[in-house]
């Protein structure tokens, strides 16, 4: 089943959208995600999909249109990056709070200033508290697979939250890789019909979306959202199992690579994981027990599962391709460290911010990190808790 193809991450994602055939796509172009909607608009023009394509005048408008279409009861998708994601910020919260299962493809890119169009996860990290499910993808195959699964997860009645699927801008979005497309019909069968809930277009049952919700009820609705995000964890695993039956490819909340017996480990999102795996294979052949935890989802944050997977490790480096600029490390760091706080046995943990604005992460950088972790595991002492690598000092 399926067809082996050579595609860029963006084209792979556009093909996932073609196979999903959403009711509505409202978008505004922005590098490096532009190619997704460009390719998808070809599919619309060629009649390959029945989607209503709404070219909006900004990302704020694009997400607003998505919200309206999703509230109407449609299956809705969009794509963006960086400043576009930043401009959507207000509407991201409204999509999540209104419990609308919009799925957004995101070619991760640095945020201005200084102006930069290349890959890091600053855009996604700006949306981490918005109530969206957040997937991250190592390569084009994962971006494609995650996008298809995201439809099922977002629409699930125990979840009803929007989901964004990230991949590194340019490194993945514009690099051609070998990957497998599922059959069109197999994707349709997997996602099924759009599951609607209280759609506005059910005109026999008129209703109001987005009313004022004051001291007497706002917190009850936020409590529901919290529950939905907790539920998402189980649904993600459940949908992944079904997807494995379809594709043969395995997914979970995170990928543990050579982690079971690891003494030292790195945590990293997206394409950096590929580089890290190469170094792990190299180190393993010399007897160094190095491992990797690659989060597939950052929202929901699977704290218990992470603690279980990392508690036996002696030293861990959480690598952030974004800086929250709090002066004490990147955005992944405090959450991973906090996840391990309650573990009876926990590793020493450091944070390294790397690759901002698409700065290359070389094998030698990863070797240096593992080297430092070996030193920390041996001495039990951390010299630098958080800092930058891949930077000129």
């Amino acid at each position: 089943m399926g067809q082996q193809v050579a595609m860029t991450g963006n084209i792979a994602v556009a093909n996932a959208m073609r196979q999903i055939n959403p009711d509505v796509c409202a978008a505004y172009p922005i590098t490096p995600s532009t190619e997704i909607m460009q390719q998808f608009s070809n599919f619309v023009a060629d009649g390959d999909v029945k989607t209503v394509l709404v070219p909006a005048e900004s990302e704020h408008s694009a997400m607003s249109a998505c919200i309206g279409a999703a509230a109407a009861g449609g299956r809705v998708m969009t794509a963006t990056s960086s400043q576009g994601m930043a401009l959507m910020w207000e509407m991201l919260y409204i999509a999540a709070g209104n419990r609308l299962p919009i799925v957004l493809a995101m070619s991760n890119r640095a945020l201005s200033a200084p102006l930069n169009i290349h890959g890091d996860t600053s855009d996604a990290m700006g949306a981490r508290d918005s109530g969206w499910i957040q997937f991250f993808s190592e390569n084009a195959q994962e971006a494609y697979d995650n996008l298809i699964q995201a439809i099922r997860i977002a629409e699930h009645m125990d979840v009803r939250l929007p989901a964004m699927v990230g991949m590194d801008g340019f490194i993945i979005s514009h690099s051609i890789e070998s990957m497998t497309l599922l059959d069109d019909q197999a994707v349709q069968d997997f996602i099924g019909d759009c599951i609607t809930h209280m759609p506005l277009l059910d005109v026999d049952n008129p209703k109001t979306f987005g009313p004022l919700d004051l001291q007497d009820y706002y917190i009850e609705h936020k409590r529901q959202e919290y529950e939905a995000m907790k539920n998402a964890k189980g649904v993600i695993v459940e949908v992944a199992k079904e997807f494995t039956e379809l594709s043969g490819r395995e997914y979970g909340l995170f990928e543990a690579y050579a982690l079971d017996d690891a003494e030292i480990a790195i945590v990293a999102l997206n394409s950096a994981a590929g580089t890290i795996k190469t170094v792990i294979d190299e180190l393993r052949s010399t007897g160094v027990r190095a491992g990797l935890l690659k989060p597939r989802v950052f929202r929901p944050f699977p704290a218990e599962e992470i603690a279980e997977a990392l508690s036996h490790v002696k030293a861990v480096c959480v690598m952030d391709r974004a800086d929250g600029v709090n002066g004490t490390g990147g955005p992944l760091f405090p959450e991973f460290r906090s996840a391990l706080y309650d573990a009876p046995k926990r590793p020493l943990i450091i944070n390294r911010i790397f690759g901002l604005g698409g700065r290359d992460l070389g094998l030698h950088h990863v070797r240096d990190v593992y080297g430092e972790l070996q030193k920390i595991a041996g001495t039990g002492k951390i010299e630098t808790l958080a800092g930058y690598i891949t930077v000129r000092n």
């Binding site: 709070g97 209104n98 419990r99 609308l100 009803r160 809930h197 209280m198 049952n205 008129p206 209703k207 109001t208 979306f209 987005g210 009313p211 919700d213 007497d216 009820y217 917190i219 009850e220 609705h221 409590r223 529901q224 529950e227």
Partner: protein, 96 residues
């Protein structure tokens, strides 16, 4: 007031499923001034009815018969539009 619902009972996303339920939400308590009708003077031109920004002018058989104080916020538009030769509606301070 009815019992407030728990987070497990409220509709998802605060969606209001019963259309037009603003009618049951009483806003009359916002008033500082209230309109007073002199039935002897009223000519039933219904200018107040068409001008009321809420639905607080009560009309029966094409006659203005009074105010719905559950929704009247005391804005005074009705008194203002009441023809000057008629002045059937005047405003009084609440609680007087």
């Amino acid at each position: 007031m009815s019992r407030l619902k728990s987070w497990k009972e409220v509709p998802m996303a605060a969606v209001i499923e019963d259309a037009g339920n603003a009618e049951t939400y009483e806003t009359g308590g916002w008033r500082t001034f209230k309109p007073v009708l002199d039935k002897e003077k009223c000519i039933h031109c219904l200018t107040c009815w068409i001008s009321c920004p809420d639905t607080a002018i009560v009309v029966k058989d094409e006659k203005m018969i009074g105010f719905n104080f559950k929704h009247c916020k005391g804005c005074g538009v009705c008194a203002d539009v009441c023809p000057k030769k008629v002045t059937a509606i005047t405003m009084e301070q609440e609680g007087k």
